[in-house]
Amino acid sequence: MSACAGVFAVSCSREQSKGATTLQRERQLNQFLAGVERRALRFAEIAVRDRDEALDLVQDAMIKLARNYAEQPEDEWTPLFFRILQNGIRDWYRRQMVRNRVMVWFGRGTNADNDYDPVAQAPDPAGRGPDDQAQTDEAMQELESAVGRLPARQREAFMLRTFEGLDVAGTAVAMGCSQGSVKTHYSRAVHSLRDALGEHWQ
């Protein structure tokens, strides 16, 4: 009888400690996602040039990270999260390509996205004047447009290294390629951007 009680007590304490660990993990994941979600959204938005689509992509990436990688060490979450997001963006491009082909087949053109302006309507938290803000918006639009014209792998390398601040190893994990490839793509991306942005950025 006492042996049974002992086994039950051990089982209960194990369950409690497991529950506490899960709770702690959830808290850590919440903290991680809260810290990365805004940047991830802008990251996806620059890639797909549509805020709603970007929100969906970020949500999918969050869910997949929580479902499949919550047990992974915390320091692996950033490259894993951006890898998931990156894969989502690639899938989105594939779907767009198929959709555009179908649209062309039925004689309907694709929507031009040159007038896309994701941050123009947002108030400036730094309290800058309209002229300064307009200048910043213009520069950001130029940058987004130039980054958007980069080949996919160069764009990924540039955004992960520059915007997310991932090191070469982390970027390689996020892109699913070698560190050498990351360096090559990044170098070519910077070269292309310098040429595209011209004197405004020198």
């Binding site: 993990r25 805004r38 959204l41 941050v119 950001m140 520059t162």
Partner: protein
Amino acid sequence: MKKPHQDEELARQAKELFDDSVERLDAATLSRLNRSRHEALAEIERSKSVGHWARWVPATGVAAAAVVAVVVWQGVPVEGPLPSAGPVTDFEILIGEDSLEMLEDLEFYSWIEPSDLQTDGNVG
């Protein structure tokens, strides 16, 4: 020939603009991000409960396969079960010569049964 510090300067400016655009996200977007995050966290609980049942799926599958294997190995009987000994014995009694005589004297036996009871009663 471009100098490396020019590359760094371009990256710095790009990051500054990017950070600025992140800071300027509107409240509605932040709210949607918040909702998405909570849905993702709820997914941990959901996948845990699914995982709890999913753990039993292989065991149940193996057990079901074992049952099927035993049934196949034993072989399904082609004919129905053999008749039990009881009905055969009854039938033999019924077709026996003695039983035919008993059937003929059925009236006698039905008379003797109450008279026995009466005799027992007198004795008792």
